[in-house]
Point group: C2
Chain length 210, copies 2
DNA sequence: TTTGTTTAATTAACGCTGTTAAGTATTTTT
DNA sequence: AAAAATACTTAACAGCGTTAATTAAACAAA
């Protein structure tokens, strides 16, 4: 079935081109400038052709949201070399903040926009594996720290949600312009790191209480 | 100038009717079903008339966002009777969570949607007074607790941002469907309270360390 | 090779959206 | 009574996501 295979290859090729065009628009012009018609223009097809390869616009954003997670995972490669789990925890938080502040559009589609979740619901995929993997990594790391006595014994789930919640909260407030008049733009990173360090400091068992 | 006054009254009346119609649509059908044409239908004017009273759609959402803050402030009346600032702090956090989970559409337009902030920028209003007032109340309360030795001495700004960030983070993750597959809907409130209580517990100077 | 059938892509259109320009009455002022 | 300002509407622009119907191309079977 060499012919059928070639056909399938070709279809995947077009799917790839649609996603590449979408990514180009997304990266260069931002979320709300990604339109079916502009994608079609870029790949030199008619707008309706896009619908032969993707169910709807949400599905395209689902793939962009996947790319975002890939980028985030790549950034987190720098954790692998850190032996001390507590230092790794601090660094993971730093990575999260860094990623959010330097890739706000990606962060937005990964954690704020509704579009990718719509696809998840529609496909009846009953778990958000990308998100769960990320949060799972945080949970495992916190558990490791706790097991090794590096952080105080605490209800793990509460701490996981508190840490994730805090960093996500600050980043999403910044991205959606709720900190513009409260924290000068150039201080954003500093303020977030202070909050993160303070939070982790409160559970850090290796710090001497002053 | 009785005639000019009457005219002005009439204009304010129509402005009010537009906002009432907008609120009706917002409350009954949600953010994205508030359209200029539907508003116009409700008040029985043509769509263009709306633009005689409001610069654009963002300005209408700015007012809805104000209504949200009013509703939130009203909810926080229950804090006034609490003498102990530490208990007031716990209760303030509870209120925030309660408001977010029970008024997700309001919360969305207050803290997530870009629309109201656009109006702020356009009008060259250089501070988001509603947001700053809310965060100011949290800051003052934390300061009071610290002054009275009810919570541990900590860098106040870091703690303010950490607390606000955490509750906002969890609520916005829930509203934008990032917790759907991680926390069962019926457990959402419980989980958030656990995280809040854990966080406040770590700075609570009145708790005995176990 | 010609016919029939499947596949791929297109054109045209639907029903929306926010917004603006131009026009029409109505009322007020001169 | 004529001119000017006010309030509102009609019509339209320029876009959007999406679907139905249609054409052109590639393939299969006769």
């Amino acid at each position: 079935m060499g012919i059928a295979e070639r056909k399938e290859k070709h279809q995947l090729e077009i799917k790839k081109r649609i996603l590449e065009a979408s990514m180009k628009l997304f990266v260069e012009e931002g979320f709300e400038h990604v339109t079916i018609r502009k994608i079609a223009d870029l790949i030199e097809y008619s707008p309706t052709t896009v619908y032969l390869y993707f169910k709807d616009k949400n599905e395209i954003f689902f793939h962009i949201h996947e790319m975002g997670f890939a980028k985030f995972l790549e950034l987190n490669q720098n954790l692998a070399t850190i032996a001390n789990p507590l230092i790794r925890l601090y660094k993971m938080g730093e990575n999260y903040i860094y990623f959010g502040l330097n890739n706000p559009e990606y962060y937005d589609v990964m954690f704020i926009q509704r579009a990718p979740m719509e696809t998840l619901k529609q496909l009846n995929v009953c778990d958000w594996s990308l998100g769960e993997t990320a949060i799972g990594a945080l949970r495992a790391l916190l558990q490791e720290c706790m097991d090794k006595g590096l952080i105080k014994q605490s209800p793990i789930e509460a701490v996981v949600m508190a840490v994730w919640g805090m960093v996500h909260g600050l980043i999403s407030l910044a991205i959606r312009e709720r900190l513009d008049t409260i924290v000068p733009k150039e201080d954003l990173s500093k303020v977030m790191h202070q909050s993160l360090n303070w939070l982790l400091g409160t559970i850090d068992a290796t710090l001497v209480e002053s």
